[in-house]
Structures are given as structure tokens and as C-alpha cells.
Amino acid sequence: MKSIKFLNLKNKAFTILSILVMISVTSCDKEVTELEPFDRITESLAFSNPARVELSMVGVYDAAQSGFYAGGQVRGYPFGAANVEQGDMRGEDMLNVAAFFAITYEANYNTASANNVFMWHTLYGVINKANIIIEGVQKAATDGVLTAAQASAYEGEARFLRALSHHELLIHFARPFGHTAGASHPGVPYRTVAVNTADRLESEVVKGRNTVAECYTLLLEDLSFAETNLPATRSGVQKVTRATKGAAIGLKNRILLHKGDWAGVIAEANKLTGYSLAATTDGVFANNSTNTESIFSIENASTDNPGVNGSLPNMYGVAPGRALIAISPIMYNNPAWLQSDLRRSSLVSEAGNGFFSNKYRRVATQEDYNPILRYAEVVLNAAEAQARSGNTGAALDLLNSVRNRAVTTPADQFTATSFASAKELIAAILFERRIEFLGEGRRWPDIHRLALDPDYNSGGIPSKVAFGNTTKASWGFGLNYENGVYKGSRTIVARPYDDFRFLWPIPLDELNTNPTLKAQQNPGY
């Protein structure tokens, strides 16, 4: 340190000068203590003009795309990638290759294991941000910043994301709708109040778990509001990456399927217009943003994505991807997935140690969208609902519309004579979902919703293949299959429906800070 002593005066002029200095510097107080932050907008200004409201709305999608994982990392929680990875790893059709997803795959989660903890954290992170938007746009409408219609459209978007997040919570932390008569069993806390003041911290934390029935009522209310108020179409990058009327209908269609409301599923499917199946089996994946089939996807971009520890192309893709999730021989070898099925070639890639999904292809840029809702799902939902309602003809047509895109040999295609009963047709529809949505995280929601189905009971968490017991030779069409049953080793044991591990636990840090939920933990944890 250097000190430069450049003046040392003794005179009256300096006395006066120094007194002036002392007086003038009092204005310096403000210079150092009244600091506006340059890197954030104070909450009172976030809804002060229409452009900022738009930015704030996009911020809720950001929370859905890249909430924070342990240590502030971004790994695509909850909907940037993680819902797909967790949804697949809780099922048996995809195979955990390494240690990354072992806890989920082997149902070894506890109240502190990261995957389940951060799904809870980030889903509620989306929900609170959505609630803050709802409060903000309502006030902006009152203040004349937005028109009533603009405010309602934003509220619709926020309520769509709120419903999407609560439903994801329900399939992991609560038993399915049919668990009790009237679905009176515990769901999750359905949060509808913005928590942004100290008072709200106190008043919201005392609200415990809603029943599953209450949750479904609120889900459908949110989605009906969204359907009424969202725009029918959007353009450019927003076409599929922002909620639309169609997205609200599509999600309602899915939720009604989980509820077992077949008439409702059909009614929603019939309302949905403006979408069609892509011409090719990989249309959705080859062209994320401009295909005709995607209804709602979460956008990832080269500059903002779940990164090397989370992105779909890295987790699912072969080298240079990390290839941590393979297609399980349980699915790959299944002869019911016909050898001629185009999806076996267009959507599967081969590596030295097994077969992988080719749905996510952009490893270097990691910009693959996460397909949350696509038209094929609505069609298959409707097919199942029609079949369960006795309309087998309509159901078969819907099934074929998806299946024949991939099964192009007429001899292999289904006809009315292919099924001896409606039950066989429903089984075919359910199996078609496993092929069509393989690697899209839809397996667990189906296991969950069908856990108590009298005919297609998944029985709980199925037994699974351990990667350590496989070699490249474990994959092969029809290999180890007898009478439609996989006979290869499945050393990851099944967890029956009544095992406590069918559900994820409420995280310990929630129990530590929330006396209400501490008394409402899922039993067994």
C-alpha cells in the first residue's frame, strides 16, 4: 500500500475549506446508501407496463424449463427434461445405464434424495410464480395497464402451467384418482395464492394436502379458464412453446383420462382442432417447432438448456451424447413391437452397448424441445376412451391413425377382426402408447393411472432389467420373449402398488419447515 502525502498546510483558508468539505459530504449519504439494483426489477415495477408483464409471463415458463437443482445447478427441472427422465426411470421400458438415475430406477428414494426433492421444489416454484402472475395481471388490469382480455389471457397461461405442475405432483406424490371412492384420499396442497409477503408465508403454510378429488376439481377449473381465455394459435417460436387453447384442451383431455372420465376425454378430443399427426414417425422430433402435431412443448435453446447433466439429447442420445438412458430389452425385444415398425428405425439408434432412443438429436447444442403434449396422445387417449365406452369401431380407427403411420405393411395393420374382444383392443391401445411415447416419460403416468385398473392393472412398479446384467447381445427382436412375456433377467425387483415406494416422499426440508405437512407424510417414510 502506498501513501502519498501531497499537502500539509497550516492556514486559515484550509480551515474554511475543510469545514466546507464536512458540510458538502453529507449529500454523499444518498450516493452510497440509496442504491437501486441494476440487475433486477423491484417487484412493484414488474407489472407496470405491458412489455414487462409479457416478460414476467415468460419467466414462469423459465421456471418450468429450468428450476434450480441442488447447489443452484440447472438440470431441466421440472419440465425442461426431468419430467421425461423421471417418468421413464420410474417405469420398465427404458433402462438406467449408469448411476445417474439409479435411485429412481431402483425405487431407492428417501426424503432427501435429489431427484424427488427437486421435482417437488421446482414444481411448486412454477406454481408460486404462476400465482404471482395471476395476482399481478389482475392488478395491472385494475390499474389500466392491461385490458381485461389481455389480463385474462395471461391468467389463462399461468393457470395452464399451474395445472400442469400440480398434475405432475399428483402422479408422483399421491395415489391415483381411483384409490378411494370419491377420491377422498390425500392429494397435494393445491396452491392458488401468491406467496410474496410475510403474512402469506404464515397463512399458506397452514394449508395441508387437498384431497385428490379437490385437486382434480381445481385442475379442471384452471384448464377450463385457460381454454376460454387463451388464444387459439400463436406464431413463430411461440407456436408450441407458449400455452394455447389447444394446449389447455389437450391437458384437460389427459387429466380426464387419469380421472377415468371417458365421456370427458372424448368430448375434449373432439373439441381440439387445428392439429394433425405429422406425416412421418419422427416429424415431431426432426422439427420441434413447426410440425403440425406438437400441441405444447417446453423450449430449449443452445443458449439456455438443461446442460450436460440433464438435457434430453445428452441423457438419451448415443455418443457424443452421454447415453445414460437406453431402451430396455423389455421393450426393444418385444415382438408385439413389429420388426417392420418404422419407429424401430427412425427413432432408435444403436451403440456399442445397447439400443437408445433417437428422439433427441441435438447433442452439441442441446436445443431439443421437450414434447409435453402432442396430438398423437390426444388421439390415443380418445381411442382408449372410445373403446372403454364400447365404441370399438371409432377406437380402432383412432388407434390405426397413429399406428399405421409406423406400420405401413397392410398385412401388419389392425382390422376389426384383429381383436376378439374390446378388452384386447384396449390392451393394444395401451401397448401402442408404450411404443409411441417411448422415451417421452409417459410410462410412469400410465403405470400410476392403471395401478388399480381391473383389467390392465400394472400392479405397481414393475420389475426391471439391470444394465449390469446385459451385454450388447441382450438386445434382439423377440429375444427372451415367450408368449408375450419377457423371460430375461429382471433383477430390479417389482414394488407392488401397496408398497410405500409407489409414492415419492414429501421432502424432509418441507417437513422441517412445514408443521402441517409434517403430519401428512406419505406412510412408510
Binding site: 480551515t15 449519504d29 442504491l35 415458463y61 410474496n196 443452445s302 457424443p320 442441446q366 417414510y525
Partner: protein, 652 residues
Amino acid sequence: MLPNVEARDSNHPTGYNLDIINPRALGRGANNDVLSNGIPNQLFVLENDKRVARSWRLLGNAYLQAELAKGLSFRTQLGIDGSYVDDFIFQDARHGDGFGANGSVSQAYSPTTRWNWQNVLSYNNTFSDVHNLGITLVQEYQKDRSTFFQSTVQNISDIYFQENIVSGTFATPTVAGGIGENGLASYLGRVNYNYNSKYYLSASIRRDELSALSPGNRVGYFPGASFAYRVSEETFWDGLRDVISDFRVRGSAAQTGNTSIGNYPYIGSFGSALYGSQNGIAYNNFGNDGLKWEAQTKIDFGFDLGLKNNKYNLSAAYWIQDNDDIILQAPTAPSLGVPGNFVNRNIGRVKSSGIELTLDAAVINSGSFKWSSSLNFSTQKNEVLNLVNGQDIIGNYNIIREGESIRSIYGYNYRGVNAANGNPIYETYNRDAAGAITETILVQGNIQNQTYYVYNEANPTELGTVRALNGSRDRVILGSALPTFFGGFDNNFSYGNFDLNIFLRFSGGNVIMNRTRADLLSQSFNNNGTEILGRWQSVENPGDGQTPRLFLNRDAFTNNPDFASTRWVEDGDFVRLQNVSLGYSFPTSTLKSLDLSSLRIFVQGQNLLTFSGYSGLDPETSTNFSTNTGFGEDFNGNPQQKVVSVGVKVGF
């Protein structure tokens, strides 16, 4: 890395052993698979990737000083402290962290400046030869500003371009940046008085205004006072002075405010929130207008004693440090969705107290050989006095609980391995309504099906009643994260022109959660530490009694690393040879001919030896002491370096 696989392979174009089937991983060699999660060849990473941080520092001070009248002086001082950090990262496209991105170069520049302006008016005078009075008024302004920007480019055209970002050599650029400021305005008044260098009194008051608090709570007043009484100056001491040359009693009490609370903890705000390619902002901080100054009151009293003409000096003091309205990121229930799941809040009050002893001695002072020594020893007792609503604040491995030392390590009691089957055994409890433990029940974690069962000592293989290990019910306090005693022993020797310094430091009474160790016992296909050799293998070969049996990918169950337990918690006591230096000063006769005023050459070793039972790399390593989560926890923390230096000191 794998212990049975070479890191290099001259047949591979890169010269490293990279896997043929999974080229992002280390080659598998004779193994059936690559490392879990496709971990790359670390030797490639070490030898090809680069990380360089260059740091520049600018320090400057200028002042004006004037004597306005007898005893009255004015001084105005301007200071600037600038730090400029330049960070560079290159990740090779061929393998390692740059593989997926096809090569990456990142550069960051982070300037930080602090300016400080101080005006001091002071008056010192002596009246009637015995009344010494000093009055000081200080005005001080300080402002910190830190900014950074960073460019990262990926998809590099050729790994040749690895010295700097070069325009046009990449396909995917990203840019980041940020800014933060804080400021403090202070006014201080202080009066010092002593009577004939015998009685000393002083009192002060300061007014601090901190930008990080809301306008209504920005100002804090912090008083202080002290006294000293040199008893040995009294005439009645004359007879004692040959033995006790100096004796004084002293005491002080002072309050200060904590200014290190971040930049804008009180502001509810929306920060940047990019969604794919779409710009956005999102709620990123929960506002708290009620946040107020965290005040620390420190009281100490003691005495200083000089013996034999101050050849030996002894000081003893008792101190109390009372931190009230401590500001912390208090956790909120995650289901409320508050950003980061915390609120910046005054959480409560924590008190520390202890004694401090220092003994200095000129042990030998005979001609050319001199030895002086200083020994100090302090104790520290810490206790959380109260918390908002009395509610515990629980981190990953620690807890803030009323009546306990702050952030005590908190976890399970581990009871070793079931010798009959290699399963881990833990204590679980039954508690009464008040939470007191009424019964201890041992459970064994059956690794095979990942379920806990009540452990039956008479029949240890029995898997009967299921009883979960419950994070709310079964965790207890395992020890203090803060040392309860510490000190140092400093010795200076000189002989002729040679000088030698030996400085030992010690500390203890705390425990450390050695999380790193759990990672070295991973159950996935990765290398392990040698501790794994002590695992349970069979009833005949039960191992060290602490390490359960192997089971692929069952780390989470077998090791339970998300929680502290007595398996991982270790004593943090240590004695460290902090410094040894040996120097030689050239005699004045030599210097004259060289036209120098002094010349000393020396060799110095820092942190050369540590004596500790702690099995990690460094008992003073902590992942991050400043957050709730890293306190008393060693999770891949960097150990302090051993430094050996050789130097020359020249005076002109």
C-alpha cells in the same frame, strides 16, 4: 479412473486410453463396462483442458492533513481498492467436458472496486499535565461495486484455437454478465480521557447507514465504552514493582453492526429468466422490508501482568459476544415456492463466550542467542439463545436449535455393520410428546430390498418388523461444528545473524461431517478409497465392522450420504505446524560495501505438518462456511496448500 486400466494408449490417435464404444468415457480395458456415468479420462482433461485465473489488484490512498489550531487537526483521505480478475477456460472437443459441446472456450472479466472517503477531525490536549483528552469525529463513506461479464463459445472449428476466443471459430456463443453494489455511510464520535496514564476512559458512538437495508431500517446506532486502570502506577505498588513491573485491569463493551449481508437482501424483485430463446423476468427474491441491523455486543474484561521488567507478560480476559437479530437465509417450506426457498430474516440471537489467555516470554536473552515465545489459548462456547417461533433451522447436515451451538452437526447414530449379513445398523427412537427420547430401537437396513427392519440381536438375520429410518424422528445432535478451544504457540530464535521462527497452531472440540469419504465408497462402477477393503464380505470375514457389504449402485442406501451419521462424523482436533522459517541477515560490514541498508535471505515453510485424527485431507476444510448447507461439512473441499518459499529481502 479405473485401477486396472492404463490412462495412456499409444494406439489411440489422441495418445490417451479412450473408450472405443463410448468415446466420451475412459477406455474400459479388460472390464465389461466403462466407468459409471461415462466419466472421462481425467488425465486427458488435466493435460489438455485449461483453466487460468489472473488477478490484478490496484490499491491507492491519498490524504490531506492540516493542523487547524493547537491540538486540533483535520484529515481527509480517499482510498481505492480495485481487483480485476480475468478467467479463462478451454475444454478440448476430443474428450472430457468439452466433448458434448464440441469444444468450448470461456472468458470472464470481473472488476471489483471499492472507494472510501474518510474525514477525521481530532482534538488532543493535555491539561494541568495530568488530564489527557482526545476527541475524534469521523465521517466515512464507502461504496463497493462489482461487475462481471463472461463469454462462452462452443462448437469450436478446430482445437487449434485455444488461447483466446477468436472471432469466427465457433458456432454457439453465449454471454453472461452481472452487477452488484453496496454502500455504507458512517459517522463516529469518540472521546478518550486518561488521568496521568493511570486511569483510562473512553466512550464512542457511531451511526451507520447501510444500503442493504430498507430505507426505514437503514440507520443503526452503535455505542461503545472502555476503561483501564494501571494499578502498577499507584504509589502503593512501588514495593512490588521489581517483581510485577506492570499490572492493569481493563474492560470494554461495544456494539457493532454486521454489514456483510449481501447487496439487496430486503428487496422483493424480479430477475432475468431466459426461457429458451425468449427473454423473461421472474420473481427471484422474497422481499423483507422488516429486515433490520444485525447487532453484535462484545463485552470483555481482564488483566495484563508484566513480570521481571516485562520479561514475562501474562494477559487474561473473559469475553462475551452476543449477536442479536442475526440475519440469515431462513428456510421456507418448499411447497410455498419462494425463490431459493428462503427468506432473508433476522432469525434470532446467538451468544458466544470464552476466556483468552496469552503468555509472552523472553525465555533466553543471553548475548548472541535469543529465544522469545508466545503461547495463547482461547475457549469458545456458543449457544443459540432464541429463534423465530423457537423453530429449528435444519440444513443438510446441521441444525440451528435453541440451546445448542449454532449449526451443530445433526444426524443419525450409526451402530456399524450387522456381522451376520453386512447390513448397516442405525439407532431409531421413540419420543414422548415433548420430543425427548424414551426408547432406542436398532434397525438394520437390508441392502437387498432397501428396507429397514427392527434389529433383533438374538437373531440378527431376522427381517421382521419394518421400521423406517426417519429423518424427523431419528436424528440427534452429533457435535459442535465450531471449535471449543484453539490457540497458537509462536517461537522466535536468533543466533548471531541467523533467525528461526516456529509457529504451531491448534484447535479442537468440533466435529466434521466427512462427506467426501462417502463418495470414496461409491457403490457404482467407480474407483474407491482403500476404506472399502474393510467391507463386510462374509460372516467369517466381517471386515472393519463399519463398512457394509458391496451392492452395485446402492450408495444411497448403503452409505446414506444425504444425512450426517456417526459413521461419517469425525473429530476435528488438530495441531498444525503453521510456519517454519529460517533466515540469515548479512552483517552491516558486508552491506556497506554493497550500499544496502539491510539484506536477509530466508527459507520458509507454511503448513508443513498436521497432526490430526481426522481422515480427510484437511481438518480446516469446509465446503462453504458462509451458507447454511456447508457448515462443518467437508465435501470435496480443497485442502490448504503446503507452501515452501525461498526469499531475499533487500532494504536500500
